[in-house]
């Protein structure tokens, strides 16, 4: 696997979700992006219900084809706010459900942290993408959410599924459609540079 070069001063690429198969295939691990368009929130409990619904052949509460799911459980919105603090939660807890949802048509995920080999393989197989947003930056990320509306599973509270309108939401491509994983390549690129610097000294 050829190692992509570090995206040093590259300007973030603007994306309008949903992306075409060609656009998805053009994304590269390590790239900074600004995402606009519709995303749906879902974390552990909602994923469990979504997959259970698929298994029973029931209709899902939102169109899964070409969808983008953001793993987030925001703080409650104060009066006058669109949404509270809204940063990503750790993605591996969704690994058990993700291949099933990708098979059903989902094409993007926003979260943070490593994914399982099965998820990476499914991303490759379906030409999907996994983005990371900055964990612990929920106050700032909320500023890139222009609308939020709970659409189902409201009994789950913070874990209900919400339809979000993202506007220039900052993220980084971590796993691209070829299966490159920036959690391996990013630190490797940094260590490589350190080695070169040390050798020059």
């Amino acid at each position: 696997m050829k190692q992509p070069s570090p995206p040093e001063a590259a300007k973030p690429r603007r994306l309008n979700w949903p992306l075409s198969a060609t656009e998805l295939a053009g994304l590269r691990a390590g790239e900074a992006v600004l995402i606009s368009g519709t995303a749906y929130t879902a974390r552990d409990a909602a994923h469990k219900r979504l997959v259970a619904a698929l298994e029973k052949g029931q209709e899902l509460p939102f169109p899964i084809a070409d969808s983008l799911i953001y793993y987030v459980g925001p703080t409650p919105a104060k009066p006058g706010q669109i949404i509270g603090s809204a940063g990503p939660t750790t993605s591996y807890r969704m690994d058990a459900y993700t291949p099933r949802l990708l098979a059903a048509g989902q094409r993007g995920m926003i979260g943070k942290g490593r994914r399982s080999p099965a998820v990476i393989e499914a991303i490759r197989q379906y030409g999907a993408v996994y983005f990371a947003a900055i964990g612990g930056a929920g106050a700032k990320l909320a500023q890139s959410i222009a609308a939020a509306e709970a659409i189902c599973y409201e009994d789950l509270g913070t874990e209900s599924v919400k339809r979000l309108q993202l506007r220039d939401f900052p993220a980084i491509v971590v796993i691209d459609s070829q299966g490159h994983d920036w959690y391996d390549l990013g630190p490797a690129a940094y260590l490589n540079r350190q080695k070169t610097l040390n050798a020059k000294e």
Partner: protein, 279 residues
């Protein structure tokens, strides 16, 4: 005997939770800025800039720094000369309940670990009480996020593993955690005691200010060495590469059995919300 109304403890817990959720303590802000200035890998520096920017936005607009407003760790050092009027545990929980409702903080606690129904008020707190001489009550609180808590580990090392065994275990824990606990992280290490004591020491370490080194020079040196080694792993901010993997390593110790060397590593994210008040 000094009399203290339980309601005063409720009020202090409420105030500290509200303050802690939206504005990071000074020691954390300063260490973050220092790390940003020392980081020379551009994508990593950019992430640290965003994190600092986020912390400013949160403080100015009273929005929680992170949507995981945590489970409340409450560590009370209660003076033996104080008589608390009322139910102490209920008083702490009342403070949590009020803060999470008033501050629009996320309720992230389920009242049963397997049946998983949300308790609805972020209660109960994880309460530890310590009896100490004097007539004061010191309240240390942490709003502990679980992305980092989930990556924590405990190991019963052998005495022959020694200092190197501790170093290896801490490093392995951090490497296995990788991007998951939201680096740059804060690393609490508990060494000695027993199985449960080591874990408690590691949690206690996370309540310290990040610039407060262990008073014992031997352990101060261990803290510095661990920080140096962790920041050579290349994991970097958010696990995407760079120097700044950890902001601080804090070690707490306790005497242990001739047959044992328990070691616990409790991780915290960069949103290290720890607050203190003395009543």
């Amino acid at each position: 005997m000094r009399e203290l109304a339980a309601a005063e403890i409720t009020e202090a817990v409420r105030r500290l939770c509200l303050q802690g959720a939206c504005s990071l303590p000074q020691d954390v802000c300063q260490v973050l800025k220092k790390a940003r200035d020392a980081e020379d890998w551009p994508p990593a520096k950019q992430i640290l800039d965003t994190i600092i920017d986020n912390d400013d936005i949160a403080a100015v607009s009273s929005v929680p720094v992170c949507q995981d407003t945590g489970m409340v760790v409450a560590w009370l050092r209660v003076g033996q000369e104080v008589h608390i009027n009322g139910d102490l545990t209920a008083a702490v929980d009342a403070g949590v309940r009020q803060a999470y409702a008033q501050g629009y903080l996320r309720r992230s606690v389920v009242s049963d670990p397997l049946r998983r129904r949300n308790s609805g008020d972020n209660c109960p707190a994880l309460l530890t009480t310590e009896l100490v001489p004097g007539d004061k009550v010191e309240i240390c609180l942490s709003l502990k996020g679980f992305g980092s808590e989930n990556m924590s580990q405990l190991k019963m090392l052998r005495p022959s593993d020694g200092r190197q065994g501790v170093v290896d275990f801490v490093l392995n824990t951090v490497k296995q955690a990788g991007p998951n606990p939201c680096p740059p992280i804060v690393v609490g290490v508990g060494i000695g005691g027993s199985f449960d004591k080591a874990a408690q020491l590691a949690k206690k370490a996370l309540l310290r200010d990040l610039d407060a080194a262990n008073p014992d020079p031997y352990y101060q040196e261990l803290e510095q060495e661990l920080l140096r080694l962790i920041n050579r792993t290349g994991i970097g901010p958010q696990g995407l590469g760079g120097r700044t993997t950890a902001l601080a390593v804090m070690v707490e110790t306790f005497p242990t059995h001739i047959a044992g060397l328990p070691c616990a590593v409790n991780l915290n994210c960069h949103v290290s919300r720890h607050m203190k008040e003395v009543l």
